[in-house]
């Protein structure tokens, strides 16, 4: 093991409908920098990086200013406050792609290579940035560190669920009255977030589902409203916590269309390195488009499931492994809508423009 180590703060937040990192780092950048310094002190690293998404320039400039300010006051740099511990941090702008948020792709980007994930192991903790051990944490995790010190571990672990302690910021977006970020204890139910904090769906509309965890997450229907939002429950329901985005969907949204939307995103953002993700997302999007245009066959639903299973098992990184999740969950919980598109050539929500019923085929 080498003596040189790095800590990186992953602020490459790219999920559609997620802005919790931005909210935290923009409103209180010092909290995040303090978290990074503490992380560096803990593992014995002397250099840290903030990897900030280029599309969020305010976050970058505020973090940069916080770093400069701390440097001026001697809280960053050589021999901090005479403790003998030296640590410096710098803010680096992301290369721009969604996949840069994947830790190995992020390391590649920091090293100046093309931002593509690589196969793990070796994990960054043993062989990371320039092959040195690297610790990578999200903005949110680092922002919790000062809070833990303030409250003390005892008091902090009183918050949250049995297995996951503390709070989590959720971003409520979509067809909901009050959109925004809300910090709640882990284990809060979806109902509380969507209806109490988000104010519910608009007048006259009906709640249909909520997409948790961004494009790699799942679409959970009404029966999961009382599901506690923690890592284990979400995984059991076929979704993920992910970044913590909650996209609320009402009855004006079509399940096929929303799956198509997320697949369009992942197929555009797929880096193209491994075959299952590169071709799989494209083929899956093709099938979904076919179904949404009324040209689908019942066979296609089976094909989607088979393809999704293989992509989950064989893709290189979490982007490809998570990409089928919106399709699988909508197919599981809203299968009747898919069937309506295929058999009756109608979109129950009235979103998809289906082709006229085929005529003149002699049937």
């Amino acid at each position: 093991m080498s003596d040189k180590k790095f800590v990186i703060c992953n602020a490459d937040e790219g999920d559609p409908g997620a802005f919790m990192n931005r909210m935290e780092a923009e409103s209180d950048p010092f909290r995040v920098v303090e978290g990074l310094i503490t992380a560096g002190y803990t593992i014995g690293a002397h250099e840290g990086f903030f990897f900030v998404r280029a599309e969020k320039p305010l976050m970058a400039s505020r973090l940069r200013r916080a770093v400069e300010e701390l440097r001026k006051r001697g809280l960053l740099g050589n021999d901090i406050l005479g403790s003998g511990f030296s640590f410096d941090a710098q803010v680096i702008l992301s290369a721009g792609a969604f996949v840069c948020g994947e830790e190995t792709a992020m390391i590649a980007a920091l090293e100046g290579r093309r931002a593509m994930p690589r196969q793990r192991p070796p994990f960054p903790a043993t062989k990371g940035l320039w092959d040195y051990p690297t610790n990578i944490n999200n903005v949110e995790t680092l922002a919790q560190i000062p809070v833990i010190f303030q409250l003390g571990p005892q008091k902090y672990s009183e918050i949250g669920s049995e297995k996951s302690k503390g709070t989590k910021v959720f971003c409520i977006a979509g067809k909901v009255r009050r959109t925004g970020a809300a910090e709640v204890p882990i284990g809060t139910t979806i109902r509380k977030l969507v209806f109490d904090i988000g104010g519910g769906v608009y007048e006259g509309r009906k709640f249909k589902a909520v997409q948790t965890g961004g494009p790699s997450g799942g679409c959970l229907p009404e029966k999961f409203l009382d599901l506690p939002l923690d890592y284990e429950s979400l995984q059991a329901a076929g979704s993920i916590m992910g970044s913590g985005g909650l996209i609320v969907l009402d009855d004006e949204v079509c399940a096929v269309d929303i799956a198509k939307y997320f697949l369009t995103f992942t197929s555009n953002e797929s880096c193209g390195k491994c075959a299952p993700c590169r071709v799989g997302t494209k083929v899956m999007l093709g099938i979904l488009t076919r179904i949404s245009e009324g040209k689908g066959e019942m066979d296609d639903l089976d094909k989607l499931r088979r393809l999704a299973d293989s992509m989950r098992e064989t893709s290189l990184c979490a982007l490809g492994q998570g990409a089928p999740n919106p399709v699988l969950t909508t197919l599981k919980y809203f299968e009747d809508e898919y069937v309506a598109h295929v058999r009756e050539k109608v979109c129950p929500a009235g979103v998809c423009r289906l082709a006229e019923k085929s005529e003149g085929t002699g049937q």
Partner: protein, 213 residues
């Protein structure tokens, strides 16, 4: 040294050996496409995926290092399904390139694996032993090779007779039919010729219907 078990056989290998290398020492072959000995593995094609006990997903054996007590399986229904899907996906944007490819007569690893894993959708052209110059289509003779399911080893074409499509059209043959236009054939003529053997088949029905749209 690290002790691993692959397909029930035990072996001691140096630390950081990959599963693929360890399997090779045991005489177990794992199919690969993007792997090239002597060059750092890309883990890109996912053809060499194997099952490792206590790991949730399949892992690429070309880059995955062995660890003490690891138990690996290189053949199972699950692995076969995943490998077959990988081949099908690669084929999805490759099919029409086989016509002009110079790798014939069993040199193509992809073709070999596609046959082994029963991948549908490969045309007779992939097995045809004729050179591009000798290709019937290039000589202006209608040959149904590009849209016919392989498996016949291209007997007719090697014996001076163009493909008549007796094995039926491949799935998604629409693109193949359109490719005939490049050689100056009309779509109707191609369909007429294909009707000889496949006129009653469901695949042909679907093909002609989708072309009529």
């Amino acid at each position: 040294m690290t002790k691993v078990t692959i397909d029930g056989k035990q072996i001691d290998v140096p630390e950081a050996t990959t599963i693929l290398d360890a399997a090779e020492k045991l005489g177990i072959s794992i199919p690969t496409l993007c792997y090239l000995k002597g060059i750092s593995p890309g883990s890109v094609c996912r053809m060499c995926s194997v099952e490792v006990e206590k790991v949730a997903r399949l892992v690429p054996s070309c880059s995955y290092p062995v660890s003490e007590g690891m138990i690996v399986k290189t053949e199972s229904q699950r692995i076969r399904a995943a490998r077959r899907m990988v081949l099908e996906l690669i084929l999805a944007n490759h099919a029409q390139k086989c016509q002009s490819c110079n790798l014939k007569g069993g040199q193509c690893e992809f073709l070999k694996l596609s046959k082994e894993y029963w991948v549908e959708g490969l045309p007779v052209c992939n097995e045809c032993k004729l050179s591009p110059e000798a290709c019937y289509l290039n000589r202006g003779i209608l040959c149904l090779g590009p849209i016919t399911q392989l498996g016949c080893e291209g007997i007719c074409t090697t014996h001076g007779y163009s493909c008549q499509g007796c094995r039926g059209p491949i799935r998604h043959a629409e693109d193949g039919v359109k490719a005939f236009e490049r050689y100056g054939f009309k779509v109707e003529d191609v369909l007429w010729a294909a009707r000889k053997y496949s006129g009653g088949s469901r695949h042909f029905d679907e093909l002609s219907r989708s072309l009529a749209k």
